[in-house]
Amino acid sequence: MLSTFLAVLRRDLLLAWRGRADVLVTLAFFVIVVCLFPFGVGAEPNQLRAIAPGVLWVAALLACLLSLHRLFAQDHADGTLEQLLLSSEPAALWVAAKVLAFWLSTGLPVVAVAPGLALLLDLEQGALPVLVLSLALGTPILGLLGAVGAALTLGLRGGGMLLALLVLPLFVPVLIFGAGAVEAEASGTGAAAHLLLLGGGLAGALALAPWACAAALRISTD
C-alpha cells in the first residue's frame, strides 16, 4: 500500500527535480503574467492596487492550469500509466501521490513567490498572509479538480485546451473565494469565512477527487 504511494511520490519528485526547468518556468509564467498587466492596463497605482488580488489569483490559476496537462501526459505516452493500472494497489492511492508531487513542485513555488509579486502590484502589506494562506489552501483544490480533467482528456487531440474548458468552470468558486479572501482582508472586512470555505472545499476535494480521477484514468486507457 504505502510503498506504492511512496514510490510514485519519490519518482515524481525526482522527475520534477530532473526537469527543474519546468518548475522554474511555471513560476516564470506566473511572474510574467502578473507583470504583463501593468503593460496592458496602464501603470496607474490605485487601479493596480484595486485589481491586484484578482490578477494574482488569476495568474496562479492559469499557471496551475497550464501545468496540469503534464500530470499524466508523459506517463500515458510511454506506457507507465498502463503499468500503474496493472498494479494490484488501489489506483486512488498512487493518483493521490501524483497529485501531491504535482502540487509540491508547481503549487508550492507559486505560493512562495506570490507575496513578492503582491508587493510589485502594491497590495496592502497586511493582506499578504491571507494571500499566502488562500493560495496554500486553494491551489491544492485546483490540482485535485484539475487531475480529474487531465485524466479525462488524456490522449485526446487538443487535450490541453479541452482540459482548460472542462475545469475552468470548476475553478471559478475557488477563484472567487481565494481572491475574495484577499480583497476582504485588504478592505478590512476579515477573511475568516472565505478561508474556512476554502478549507472545506479542500477537504471535500481530497476525499472525492482521487477516486473520480482513478475512474477517469481507467476509462481513458481503455
Partner: protein
C-alpha cells in the same frame, strides 16, 4: 490457468475477430501469430484487462478477471509496445520504479544485476533519452528477470529492435520461465531460438 472463451473484438467499424478461445496451462509458451493488423495487440490488451471485450470472457484460475482484478494483476506481467520508460530517468531508476509501482521489491542490487545481465552495464546512469532503440527495449525487458514469481507473462513484440544475441538470450529466459511452471503469451514476427517450439495461436483463423 488462463481461459479465454468466445472473445470478440470490435475496433471502430471493424470486427477484428470473434469466437476466439484458448487455454493456457502452466509451463506453456503461446505465440500469438498472424499478419499485421489482424488483432494480436488488441487480443493481448483484452487478455490483460486493459481493454473491454465486445463479447466473451477471460478467466484466471477459473475466476473472470473483471471480478477479481487485483488477484489477476498480482500474477500478471505485461510489456506492451510502449516501453514504459521515462526519458529523464536512468535505466536503473526506471527499473526500480517499475518494480516498486508493480508491488515487486525494488532492491537496488537486484535491479542492477538485472540490467547488467541484459547488457546495459555501461548505461546504468545515462538518461534513457539518449539510449539507442535496442537499449530502450532492454530496459523494459529487464523486469522479466525480477518477476519470476509472476506466473503469466504477456509480451507484445518483445524481440523488436534487439540484436541477434539479445534475441537468443531473451528466448532462453522465456523458455526458462516456462520450464519453471510459468506461462508466456507473446506476439512476434521474428523467429527466435526457443528451447521448445511454442504453441501457435493463429488469430487469422478467427478473423471476420
Amino acid at each position: 490457468m488462463l481461459e479465454v472463451d468466445d472473445l470478440a473484438c470490435l475496433k471502430g467499424d471493424r470486427l477484428l475477430f470473434r469466437g476466439l478461445a484458448f487455454r493456457l496451462q502452466a509451463g506453456e509458451l503461446l505465440r500469438v501469430a498472424g499478419p499485421n493488423g489482424v488483432g494480436k495487440t488488441s487480443l493481448l490488451r483484452l487478455v490483460t484487462g486493459l481493454a473491454l471485450a465486445e463479447a466473451g470472457e477471460v478467466r484466471w484460475q477459473g475466476c473472470p478477471i473483471r471480478r477479481d482484478r487485483e488477484a489477476f494483476h498480482r500474477e500478471l506481467l505485461y510489456l506492451g509496445h510502449a516501453p514504459s520508460i521515462n526519458d529523464l530517468l536512468s535505466p536503473l531508476e526506471n527499473l526500480r520504479f517499475a518494480c516498486a509501482a508493480a508491488g515487486d521489491g525494488s532492491d537496488e542490487e537486484a535491479c542492477t544485476q538485472a540490467l547488467v545481465r541484459i547488457g546495459l552495464a555501461n548505461q546504468l546512469d545515462l538518461p534513457a533519452r539518449v539510449l539507442s532503440q535496442g537499449q530502450r527495449r532492454r530496459v523494459g525487458l529487464a523486469r522479466l528477470f525480477l518477476s519470476a514469481r509472476r506466473a503469466l507473462w504477456v509480451l507484445d513484440e518483445p524481440f523488436t529492435a534487439l540484436d541477434v544475441k539479445a534475441v537468443a538470450d531473451l528466448a532462453q529466459a522465456l523458455s526458462d520461465h516456462c520450464a519453471g511452471g510459468g506461462m508466456v503469451m507473446l506476439t512476434t514476427h521474428q523467429d527466435a531460438p526457443f528451447a521448445v517450439a511454442p504453441r501457435v495461436l493463429d488469430v487469422g483463423a478467427y478473423a471476420c
